[in-house]
Symmetry: C2
């Protein structure tokens, strides 16, 4: 999940100061409403040392009624706490019905310690399960849980430490434990990644927060919490609209849209996301007619946050010249042929997933991938809307039954990810269904990997402009026209909604055992070579083949 | 769970034949309704070899429309099935929406094989998780799942094999695998027990079926399935009452009450259970006024099934003479004192739970248990209705915070089991809440045991007659009168409902790591000595103390 986090976003102080008071006021309102609704809330703040978690929490609590919340700083367990099962001290801190709790570090601190210091795999796994059980029991009892991981790179952490150490009044903040973490950043990173995947659930989702810029991080968290709570309390844009008056103040207060895609259990489906064109419009108001006839007024609040979308950062200028393309294609296809034989001999199943925008070039890439493989060794599944048996069963059924046997390739031209893409955006799956699906898909892929399956997943990315060019080209070339359907045009209309869905998919399902590869597909030649090269790399590494150039 | 199964119940063939056709007809009706409601159902049949699972399934399917169901006999995986992840072949067999599936053996066959043959603990644990994930994904998608374990003792299995082997037409039924299982009955038993606990969930509960008598087993299963499905479809006793006419036939068809407590996700709260006094009344009709003014007519259908309640089998005639009592009391208390020191030295926490009928003698037993312990070493928690902080949080909070530290005893006079006893019977917890609680409690106790906690749990059992005697005695003795409240009398009215709740509690929460001890408490002296002796045994075995008589 961390590999999908864009770490260099920032927000100006002026912008931050302009926006925060309104969000704090809304959080104050929510505090009262939660109390009345008797909903206990738990906000967990974890992250790298040097991400100023305590001061982030202060931003949240500053305007709250102190009777309504508790802040718990979590240190390593004290002697008396070690006399009890490890979750004891956290059970003692669960909120009463209606209370808000903020954990500055949490049970995850102990989970990480269990791994990085003990190195006891079995104990670590048991504790991950304990944590999930703990959260599930509280969530089943009505608790609302959000977990934040404040993320910075090793370089950013170094800069942060340097700054703190240079100030005699601040240097004490950098502890021995922090230095240890910095020295072992890579190792801790891998453990964190595994921990996030094991404990990311629909009832207690993780939010990864780019935390190098404090203003950005705090606003992101404030917006996420406010949006998620309003959603939980059933405050829709419409309800907020009821308070609209002409003063403009209430308008801003109640109609700020949550521009950051609020993730997991937190997305408010009634929240209107600005379209990319609103991007340029700056802070101009946009109005969106709702299906029930009312109008939602949207103020895009944080210009730079949109940039936290990993997809927005994809370098679409990457190109490949003809000569390199043909040379590389030949070389990689030859390798794939040999790797295909190894797959057969080693009896490993291979699953290759292609997802991407309409007309992003999935078909062409698949064709190049399989061209030199033994035709008996692979099968390509083109996945459209389910029909027949597939439609009458659990959505994973159609993929289970299309799994490759040992020694074979199965290439999926679209896949189970439809659940969190088209089914989410078009409303074919209910919110609780697609939110549950991230964990279901990770469990599914983990089972495949446990069996020995080699998995590669590609997202083919193009710009909306390039898509339009390709659509028009298809329309104009008679033998390509069949490829273009009304559905393609309809999907194109919903680009922003798809963008949010893709971003969340990439974040929540990029796991250590089945990571995503984003393919810059504006240039088809570049895309095809990247796909083939990645496939070759994955296969070589999984099959233990000696690399010969 | 298996230790709570009464294995020597039986039903006459005549009774069986009288009752089955009506239940089969209801199941046929349900098949149509499930199809219409598009609810897929999965019935898993596992159990010891020689329990005639296939013929049991035949009883269920005989009158069904063959288009509506599938029966899957599960053998060890074939060569081609071994080319896929282990759950692949079961995913291929999931029912379509509205279809019924009957699995004659299932994924649990492979789970057991993974343990008993591989002995690979890690793989076994992963597969248990895989099975739970599989069932959870299907249940989340709307599937209805019930799992039956057909249980016989080793002796009963021997008799069964002998009978089959003596018949040349039947002897082929006893396979080498069956013989292996019989030889290793004890070892398999332990694995089954662990498997049942790990995979018993609110969304896919296990039902333990006494299977020595085929008529009893089949009727039990038929009743359980019909009752559970009617409950799932929201068919209450009242709905069925709508079809009552004077012919008596429809009356029997629609008003047979499910006398066997239907367990787990399956209990129909509208089903009226006959009171113990109805026991003697034989097949006489009983009428019960419902809160909404209508009357439910109940035909007690299966006389002997009630005997499957382990509580009904408790030998309440057990007595202890004064002399033995005083000698044993002294001896055991002296031992407990020494064991208490060991607990302190070995730094093990100890949790002792007392549950039982009102006036069963919990207080007296606790007093004898703690009398000679160092007063600093133990604390007794009397658990009544929650108040204050405890009332405003998850029900387990009040017990987490009362856990003993290392080296101390905590004795609970009533406990977290209130969730599945008084809260269930009095309606303080919703059905989904107390059904979920069995797994929550097992998870809780497993976490305690993982930490090193020693747990003993006692159910003090008396007859309703003895309770009445004690109530009256309390009423008449001035210094005891305070012990008797209106609530005690109210609870007494609900004896049958409590009986069902206690039976299910004992079944679902008697785990290998925290088993229940049922104490015959009709005679206080006998009860106290049994409690002390059990406590001594548990402590000696857990602390590794050499036993010196």
């Amino acid at each position: 999940m961390l590999d999908r986090c864009i770490t260099d976003v920032s927000l100006s102080k002026a912008e931050y100061q302009r926006l925060v008071p309104e969000l704090q006021a809304r959080l104050f309102d929510l505090e009262q409403m939660l109390l009345e609704a008797r909903i206990p809330t738990i906000f967990v703040f974890e992250g790298w040392a040097g991400t100023a978690k305590a001061r982030t929490i202060a931003t949240l609590t500053r305007r709250l009624d102190p009777r309504g919340f508790r802040v718990y700083p979590i240190t390593p367990p004290r002697t008396y706490e070690q006399q009890y099962p490890w979750l004891y001290r956290f059970w003692l801190k669960i909120p009463s019905y209606g209370q808000m709790t903020f954990f500055d570090r949490s049970w995850y601190r102990e989970l990480l310690a269990a791994y990085t210091t003990d190195g006891d795999q079995d104990r670590w796994r048991t504790r991950c399960e304990d944590a999930v059980v703990f959260e599930r029991q509280l969530a089943d009892d009505g608790a609302f849980i959000l977990k934040f991981w404040l993320h910075i790179t090793k370089k950013q952490q170094a800069r942060r430490f340097k700054k703190l150490l240079s100030d005699p009044l601040q240097s004490w903040r950098v502890t021995d434990e922090d230095r240890w973490q910095h020295r072992h950043y890579k190792r801790v990173y891998r453990v964190v990644e595994e921990m996030l995947v094991r404990t990311d659930t629909a009832f207690a989702p993780w939010q990864i927060v780019p935390a190098a810029d404090k203003y950005y991080a705090r606003l992101y968290i404030l917006q996420t919490i406010v949006g998620a709570l309003e959603s939980r309390l059933g405050i829709t844009a419409i309800d907020r609209g009821a308070s609209i008056d002409d003063s403009g103040e209430a308008l801003r207060r109640y109609n700020l849209s949550i521009r950051i895609p609020v993730l997991g259990g937190a997305t408010n489906t009634d929240t209107v996301r600005p379209s990319p064109s609103a991007e340029e419009a700056g802070h101009q108001l946009t109005t969106t007619p709702m299906s029930n006839g009312s109008v939602v007024v949207t103020v895009p609040v944080v210009s730079p946050t949109y940039a936290a979308s990993p997809l927005q950062r994809v370098d679409l200028s990457l190109r490949l010249d003809d000569e390199t393309y043909h040379r590389e294609l030949k070389r990689l296809q030859a390798k794939l042929y040999l790797l295909g034989l190894q797959v057969y001999h080693q009896k490993r199943p291979v699953v290759i997933v292609f997802e991407g925008w309409d007309a992003a070039g999935k078909g062409g890439a698949i064709q190049r991938l399989t061209a030199e493989l033994d035709p008996r060794a692979y099968i390509v599944h083109a996945i459209a809307a389910p029909t027949g048996d597939d439609k009458a069963r659990h959505y994973l059924y159609r993929f289970w039954r299309r799994l490759p046997p040992r020694g074979q390739f199965a290439v999926f031209d679209r896949s189970w990810y439809g659940r969190v893409l088209v089914e989410r955006v078009e409303g074919f799956a209910r919110p609780e269904e697609w939110r549950r699906a991230y964990a279901e898909i990770n469990q599914f892929e983990r089972q495949l990997v446990d069996f020995g399956t080699i998995i590669a997943k590609f997202w083919l990315h193009i710009s909306p402009e390039e898509q339009l060019r390709r659509f028009e080209q298809r329309q104009n070339v008679p033998y390509k026209a069949w490829k273009l359907t009304d559905e393609d045009w309809r999907n194109r209309e919903k680009w922003p909604a798809y963008l949010a869905a893709v971003d969340e998919m990439l974040l929540r399902t990029s796991t250590p055992f089945a990571p995503w590869t984003i393919v810059e597909a504006e240039d088809k030649k570049f895309a095809r070579i990247k796909v083939l090269r990645t496939a070759v790399d994955v296969l070589e590494s999984e099959l233990g083949v000696v690399k010969l150039e």
